[in-house]
Amino acid sequence: MVSFTLTEDQQALTETLRRYAVNDVRPVAHDADEDSKLPQAVVQKGWELGLIPAVIPEELGGFGDPLSAVTGALAAEELAYGDLSLALAVLSPALFAYPLLLYGTAEQRENLLPLFLEETPAPVTAALLEPGIFFDAHELQTTATHEGDKVRLNGTKAYVPLAAESHWMLVYARSSETGVVEAYLVEDSVAGVQVESREKLMGIRALPTYRINFNDATVDAACKLGGVVGMDYPALLNRQRVALAALAVGVARASFEYARDYAKQRVQFGKPIAQNQAIAFMLAESAIEIDAARLMTWEAAWKLDRGEEATREAVLAKQYADKAVLFVTDNGVQTLGGYGFIREYPAERWLRNGRGFPAFAGLAMV
């Protein structure tokens, strides 16, 4: 039955997250960006919202809610509406937790899921993206070579969030024998894992991301996510596409709402600039693109939740959202005119953050 209405739980959740985004995140977002520093108290508060414990099974001490991509998309949008760096930081434990929850062996789950029931954010991350100008998730350069009950990892990963402070990371690598991509649960103490210096990016400056070198980093074969069965990699790729699309919608909405309010209040030639069709149409087109991108994201998420093949929907939603967020945030800057170029106003930050989405892969997960 076609419906665009949130469940009561989803409604309550989005309201909570919106309050957090507006009251906690927005006030610190500018300084966080300028200082390239995550405000730990706000991240901590984000952790305490309990997004991940909610989906940990009851028998392991969680709340046992089903893991829903739709709910995840709703949450991601609200968090990114606050700030993208902080959203990615708050959501980063999911990069490890959700694949583990979905595909981990009983042992892996029992051992590691309790990490996500602590009072502070679980010190985990995941490494998918690789450096260079082109990235193909199906042809990873990082390799995993099985030798007996050991696996050697070799290669370089990029854009790994919070790597320097993570004790565990999920590393995606291509089997040098079969070519199949698998994920490995790797501890930071493993020899041959080298976290390089922090990356400098155009946007998401508050979020520390790193390159990591794997130089014959050797782990037990038992660290392979899901054991013999492994994982459903295409599904995970779709989950990260949906997450990123939802985050893009959140960034776009932030920019749009700000520009809309600015245009209504900024007077030039004796009237609010919003009363010029040129500005009003720009805003209207932004509004349409945001809604379209959101609906596409929801549809892909809905298919994921039904367990259906969702690659087409997820890919198109991600591509559409990539374009939409650039269109909308660029319009946002344009609406503010000269002020759009000044960093005291948030519009330019949303443009910098918004432009990053086509490059982001594996930075979030629903």
């Binding site: 082109f134 998730a137 549809e299």
Partner: protein
């Protein structure tokens, strides 16, 4: 309730049937009816009339019977069903679809503001008889396109005969010829009872076929949807019974102006349905394009990164994404209608997006199909011409964008014009 995109089983079944009708009675005649502009799609009309008549009978029954308060209420899917019907028929042929023998927009107006007596008197003809009947809506005039307040057609009340006397000219009336000259149909004519009152004086009147003084003066020659009957109608002292007015005859303004508001409210229903028509044309073009590309060995690899795509693959994915965006915006506007929520914003969003998308998708399909795309041997070029109407009627893209802008900015017509 929860977020859900599932189309109910019974509507999916309907779709299969409608697709069959489209394949059998529309597509084979598309080219021929495009080349012979004012010919009629008889195969389609003959096939669909008996089905439609039954549906219209059911609708009429529902309209006139008092609802049983004990009957459990199911969530309505009226508009969803309609949306997908329109989409599929437009996929078949947008011009032929517009010749659907039904009360159409005229019916919506009667359903929205007519009295029970009027509903029976005017709508029964669409629910019975061997011959198809058409309804139409006449709003636009040479000097009144987007600006409906500039309507000059007048309705004067003649106390002596208890009649309204209409004078003026209407243009761009869809199925006006079918309604007035080729069936025992009717046209809803918007006319002013008081020119000085602007929108407050505008009222809808029901004009039936055979009314003296009413004349179809011209059938337009058009860029696309050539199978659709688009006419100009003149009214010269055309007399209709006093109770052919829909709603009150009093001049009202603002919130009290239910006649005009009623007309505007029908836009909230008609715009997403026009959008649905656009989606159908766009899908026809895209499917055909993909079919031809497949024949040339080109498939669309969704999970492949950008740097490994060809220009054409990328174009097709963008076309698909655009079409999906327009589809979902339309679906939302329609779902809101079924839930009886105000959807003016969403309706205009869907309309403008679908109009732009069908324009872009069909224009691109013609381009990507190269010399064959531009040829009248195939239908791609026709879909491009058919598609373009969606950016022009039921409010141009500009007018609908303006509506969206006013809604998001919370501006009145005066604040943003």
């Amino acid at each position: 309730m929860t977020i859900d995109f599932e189309i109910p089983e019974f509507i999916q079944q309907q779709q299969a049937m409608v697709e069959y009708i489209a394949q059998a009675t529309m597509r084979p005649y598309s080219r021929e009816l495009d080349e012979n502009e004012h010919a009629r799609p008889t195969a389609f009309i003959d096939q669909i009339w008996p089905i439609l008549k039954e549906q219209q009978k059911a609708t009429l029954r529902k309209l006139t019977e008092t609802p049983d308060p004990n009957k459990p209420k199911r969530p309505s899917t009226t508009y969803l069903r309609l949306m997908l019907l329109v989409e599929m028929l437009s996929w078949g042929d947008a011009g032929i679809y517009l010749c659907l023998p039904s009360a159409a927009l005229g019916g919506s107006a009667i359903e929205a503001v007519g009295t029970p007596e009027q509903k029976i008197r005017f709508l029964t003809r669409f629910a019975e008889g061997d011959k198809p009947v058409w309804g139409a809506m006449a709003m636009t005039e040479p000097g009144a396109g987007s600006d409906t307040s500039a309507i000059q057609t007048s309705a004067r009340y003649d106390e002596a005969t208890d009649e309204w006397v209409l004078n003026g000219e209407k243009i761009f009336c869809t199925s006006g010829g079918l309604a007035l000259e080729e069936s025992d149909g009717l046209v809803i004519v918007w006319a002013t009872v008081d020119r000085s009152a602007g929108r407050g004086g505008m009222k809808p009147f029901v004009v039936e076929a055979g009314t003296p003084g009413v004349k179809v003066v011209k059938a337009e020659i058009k860029h696309g949807i050539r199978a659709s009957d688009t006419v100009a109608i003149s009214f010269q002292d055309a007399r209709i019974p006093a109770d052919n007015i829909l709603g009150s005859s009093e001049v009202q303004t603002g919130a009290g102006n239910k006649g005009f508001k009623g007309a505007m409210a029908t836009f909230d229903a008609s715009r997403p349905l026009v959008a649905a028509g656009a989606l159908g044309v766009g899908r026809a073009a895209l499917e055909f394009l993909k079919e031809k590309l497949t024949e040339s060995g080109i498939e669309i690899p969704y999970g492949t990164p950008y740097h490994k795509l060809t220009a054409i693959q990328r174009d097709v994915m963008e076309m698909e994404a655009d079409l999906k965006a327009a589809y979902l915006l339309t679906l939302r506007a329609i779902a809101m209608l079924d839930e009886k929520l105000n959807n003016s914003l969403e309706a205009s969003m869907a309309k403008v997006k679908a109009g732009k998308v069908v324009t872009r998708v069909t224009q691109k399909a013609v381009e990507l199909l190269g010399p064959m795309g531009y040829s009248r041997e195939w239908l791609a070029e026709k879909w491009m011409r058919d598609g373009k109407i969606n950016s022009l009627y039921e409010g141009t893209d500009q007018i609908n964008t303006l509506v969206v802008a006013r809604r998001i900015l919370e501006y009145s017509r005066n604040e943003l014009s």
